[in-house]
Symmetry: C3
Subunit: 189 residues, 3 copies
């Protein structure tokens, strides 16, 4: 916690003020900073709850939260520019995740006949996950701790912890170097 | 027609005014609404024709129309934010299509030596088609009635009616639930 | 050189003025024009060098240059809107390349534990290469002279000269028509 606060201390007053403004409609939140200007991050909340820890967001980040839906983001995670999260049911993003730009995370197909057939399914992204730019994470997916998703992937199925997934649809291509590093330097986060 | 007018009546005055502004260079058009602000939808018309029915567009939609090219969009269709349509020859989009954000539809490779070899080929998207976010539809493609294109696909060949296509390049992966629903509830549109 | 200067003469005063502004932090540059308005192209230079010839850029182009990194772009090349180049080590783009919109070119994985394991590797794009929209070019890739990369590809390995590559990951699918044309009209550039 103290480590995160120290890290957040390095951001400018302006980034903290934008963060305060962005977090004004969150149900509960830690220290939020917003880096970059136009377009400002946007929340479209149709009656759900947003719980965010100490996090950094970049310009153009967008949350679309459905009625009674829940979006939860852990401490130390950042979402880079233009990343979109659509939560119609529930999206959980863990701690210390690095989410690149132009990423889309959706737990829904967003289609009007969403009833019986096009049901929404929660998305879970565990701690220390890295998601490359332009990736799309689709409904029902769970990405395990320390996994890496390569740039430009479309993730349609679960990705096990400490693996690297790539492609459309994403397939496991290797073991995550983060996993290797963690063994070598177990004191690192 | 009355159903569509009723649906359009639920939009704000502002959305109708933006729609009037956006449609000022269309050859012929119905009731147009524009939802969202920055960046405003944009038309780059180099001497073609644009025929649009009663439609909704979001911010950042962009039409690039070549000389003598034709873009036609049917009633009840919407194009979500930042979707780009490039018509150098002809692009037809049917009625009640749902086209998500960041989609690209092109009937041309847009290359300067476009002469004999890189010829433009019309794109046809039939009625009730759903196109997922970040999809790219390339020249010469016909997407059949009620088909669904999954998010992040690149469509290089025809997609038959009532199927679901996904991947790069897109392949048929299932029968469309819209087709199933239509059989179950034949009175639905 | 004269041909390029003639071509650049067709741009508006405004495009030249924007080009001057955009190039103010380049180490060395030719005639730069910027077409389009919002968002203005952006350079984030953390201590590297940018060498650009006579080139055209569109709105939203973004360069992220790391410490001691080098970005080099040859005469006659254009980068269309929202294209991002990340150079942590070195990115070379040749002459007369046509780079479409929403392209990402990175020589790095941009991850914090980038040390021993996630090393940066230079990207080389040779002369007369065409890159389709929404393509991602990853670290260590060399794209040979006259090659074409289809829209929506993710390029993870070298692409030989005068071929067409497509897909995620990109694979060779044909010989480039540019190569054919060059044989037919050897006097063309």
């Amino acid at each position: 916690m103290q480590r995160i606060r120290q890290r957040l201390a390095k951001y400018s007053l302006w980034e903290h003020l934008l963060g305060l403004w962005f977090s004004r409609n969150f149900t509960q939140h830690g220290i939020i900073v917003v880096t970059g200007r136009q377009p400002f991050p946007k929340v479209i909340n149709r009656g759900g709850d947003i719980y965010v820890g100490n996090c950094q967001f970049y310009e153009g980040v967008r949350f679309e939260i459905g009625k009674k839906a829940v979006l939860q983001i852990g401490n130390g995670t950042y979402l880079n520019r233009n990343t979109v999260v659509v939560a119609q049911k529930r999206v959980d993003i863990g701690k210390d995740c690095l989410i690149a730009w132009d990423v889309v995370i959706m737990d829904s197909d967003l289609h009007p006949i969403a009833g019986k057939i096009m049901e929404d399914k929660p998305v879970v992204i565990e701690d220390n996950v890295w998601i490359g730019c332009r990736t799309i994470i689709l409904k029902g997916v769970r990405i395990g701790k320390g996994a890496i998703i390569a740039a430009g992937s479309v993730v349609t199925k679960d990705v096990p912890a400490s693996t690297i997934a790539a492609g459309v649809p994403a397939r496991i291509i290797a073991t995550s170097p983060a996993a290797i590093l963690q063994k070598e330097n177990p004191e690192q986060s």
